[in-house]
């Protein structure tokens, strides 16, 4: 079945709601409007207002209500309209949801869905990649699929998971990426990274929309006889260190790539683990490519300069290969 990234998420939610009557969706404009990206189009009609809840404009209420319902054994999917507004529900997520199990053994099986990322000229507040905040919050799980296959498999795994999961979906991929996926039910487990391209000479460790940039780079280098391995991390917390390290041990050269701004990004964590645990295999410095440390600018030439792209990655990759 050939589906878009968006359709894959939609299918995953739909099937889980069919499968388990405890799964429900809440968020702003998810009902009659079907959500700003139409992820939940038709769900209100099909599942009814009990299970597709249009909330007031209040992210702390959305996250908090999801926590309360999850404590009671339901499986809420809370949609935050843009990942940028996760900051409006921040305390509920990082202090309430993340710490219940550790403190008093209470499970919070909720999913927070958050469309993230730039490239659609949406400016500083509709483009951020803020996954690093949550990766630094023990008790949460954090995923970010790059493909329709993983988007569907990971949303299902997230819904079935008994811990709070922040599910980042990259809005620039929604309609841009299509892929054949299996019919019907399957999951992609939370945890394992995927080696999405095997190679010998250089590893690119990345996730989200940047997986496609990495593929572009790998295609180019392939024509020059350089073989690039790409690891799509997929789950950012917990991090699949083993797969990342195995790739680095194999290629001895590594470039860590993400769309989020550089300083304090998840790339630092990945690079640090490599520098500590694969030190002996490294033939060159661990290089990161990420957005510069600025808010996401609005105007196209600025946003283009901001976002990592194939040219920028190629330059660093060549430097690394020549090292």
């Amino acid at each position: 079945m050939l589906v878009t990234y968006l359709e894959a998420i939609r299918q995953g939610i739909w099937e889980e709601m069919e499968r388990d009557p405890d799964v429900f969706l809440l968020g702003e404009d998810v009902g009659v409007y079907g959500g700003p990206f139409k992820i939940s189009k038709g769900m209100l009609e099909h599942f009814g207002a009990r299970r597709v809840i249009d909330t007031p404009l209040a992210e702390a209420a959305i996250a908090g209500a999801a926590i309360g319902a999850a404590l009671m054994g339901l499986r809420p999917i809370a949609e935050i309209q843009y990942a940028d507004f996760l900051s409006c529900a921040f305390d509920q997520i990082v202090n309430f949801a993340a710490k219940c199990r550790y403190r008093w053994g209470a499970a919070v099986p909720m999913v927070v869905r958050a469309p993230c990322g730039g490239g659609v000229h949406a400016g500083p507040f509709h483009s951020q990649c803020n996954e690093a905040w949550f990766v630094h919050t023990p008790g949460l799980k954090v995923v970010m699929p790059a493909t329709p296959h993983d988007a569907k498999g990971l949303i299902k795994a997230s819904i079935r998971d008994n811990d709070p999961v922040i599910y980042f979906e990259h809005k620039a991929l929604y309609r841009r990426i299509k892929q054949e996926i299996p019919e019907g039910d399957y999951t992609v487990p939370i945890g394992p990274a995927a080696v999405v391209r095997e190679g010998r000479d250089l590893s690119i460790i990345t996730y989200g929309a940047m997986v496609w940039v990495a593929q572009e780079v790998a295609d180019t280098l392939d024509q020059e006889g350089v073989s690039v391995e790409i690891v799509d991390v997929r789950t950012l917390l917990p991090l699949d260190e083993a797969t990342i390290l195995a790739s680095v041990r194999k290629t001895s050269r590594v470039l860590v790539l993400h769309e989020a701004t550089l300083t304090g990004g998840v790339g630092g964590e990945i690079a640090a683990r490599i520098a500590e645990k694969a030190f002996d295999c490294l033939d060159a410095p661990v290089v990161r490519v990420a957005a510069p440390d600025t808010p996401v600018p609005f105007s196209p030439p600025l946003e283009e300069a901001f976002l990592p792209n194939a040219a920028k990655v190629l330059e660093k990759a060549r430097w690394l290969l020549a090292y």
Binding site: A61, A63, G64, A65, A69, M72, L74, D91, F96, W104
Partner: protein
């Protein structure tokens, strides 16, 4: 005169009388005294002896609120206590042993030492632990109420909070969401007139927390928070409203914090006369007087109750002191579901 039997903790005493009001009074007194005594031991004895880990927040003078409200709850109703509602735990069958152990950071505590003091909960008993962020419980309680409605249950949720909490965005978002969705939620504000050192007039520009009810389209009533009967009856009205599917209901219990904010706070910012005035309205003394006046108890009955509770508390403390500290190996357990 009712003859008191000392029930094993934490059950309240039963009376041989047939007057349900007398019965209720005995139950009020039992739980209020238990809460008072447990907190006194923690704050005034164990804390000073250095046996308590971390901070101590007591509900001294406010016992009528958790007791009056808590006794209206059905077993499957969900409770979200604040940090001054210890009696709710006893009503739900938590043993004072577990409370002392909790305050001492022992594995016998409700969180096995992972968290402390009033940060305790147990979903099996439908008691949800607060987090420190004041007011954060409100949206979560709305979510629990949503789950009850979702399942078509007749049960409801109760959430407790102070006057300070009413200034938080979470208070507003939680109530508004519950109101719009007509969720079965009873909102219980203990307006003890201070939030830490901050008096009401620096917290809000309206006279009563209940003045906010109309802005959410929900009923709100003010009640004497030091009168367990008054609190109880207000909570019954609120619970019935919620159970009938009419949505949230706010009760503002006017009371006073007869202590510092926490054990290390001498509350010098509180005018002395306020403590004196409110001491006269003590909910336990008031309940005693009523019971004596109505002939539901005589002095000896009361003393017998107190003596029995005190003895059981002594034993509970001993038990808690013998409960071990958690093993360091537990540090990394339970961050996630064990796989």
């Amino acid at each position: 005169m009712a003859a008191v039997k000392t029930a094993p903790l934490p059950a309240p005493p039963e009376t041989t009388g047939t007057d349900p009001e007398a019965d209720l009074a005995w139950r009020f007194l039992h739980y209020m005294f238990l809460m008072r005594e447990v907190e006194d031991r923690i704050e005034r004895k164990l804390y000073r002896q250095g046996k308590i880990v971390g901070g101590v927040y007591s509900g001294r003078g406010q016992e009528a609120i958790p007791v009056g409200v808590g006794l209206t709850a059905e077993p499957e109703d969900v409770l979200f206590p604040s940090h001054r509602d210890l009696a709710l735990y006893f009503i739900r069958g938590v043993h004072p042993r577990e409370v002392f152990a909790q305050y001492m950071g022992r594995v016998g505590g409700l969180t096995r030492g992972k968290d402390g003091n009033m940060h305790m909960g147990d979903m099996k008993r439908r008691l949800v632990a607060i987090i420190s962020s004041i007011g954060a419980s409100l949206p979560v309680a709305a979510g629990a109420a949503l789950a009850l409605k979702y399942r078509g249950s007749r049960n409801i949720a109760y959430v407790f909070f102070g006057d300070g909490a009413t200034s938080r965005g979470d208070f507003h978002e939680g109530i508004n969401f519950a109101a719009v969705q007509k969720l079965p939620l009873v909102l219980v504000c203990n307006n003890n007139q201070y939030a830490y050192s901050t008096p009401l007039e620096l917290q809000m520009a309206c006279a009563n927390v209940a003045d906010r009810g109309p802005g959410y389209g929900i009923p709100a009533e003010i009640v004497d928070g030091n009168d367990a009967f008054a609190v109880y009856h207000a909570a019954r009205r609120a619970a019935e409203h919620a159970r009938r599917g009419l949505g949230p209901y706010l009760i503002e219990c006017k009371t006073f914090r007869m202590s510092g904010h926490s054990a290390h706070d001498a509350a010098e910012y509180v005018p002395k006369h306020l403590f004196e005035e409110w001491a006269a309205k003590d909910p336990i003394l008031r309940m005693e007087s009523l019971m004596l006046e109505r002939g539901w108890a005589d002095r000896r009955d009361l003393d017998a109750l107190y003596a029995s509770l005190r003895q059981q508390i002594d034993e509970a403390i001993e038990w808690a002191e013998n409960s071990p500290y958690p093993d360091p190996s537990e540090l990394t357990a339970n961050v996630y579901e064990a796989s």
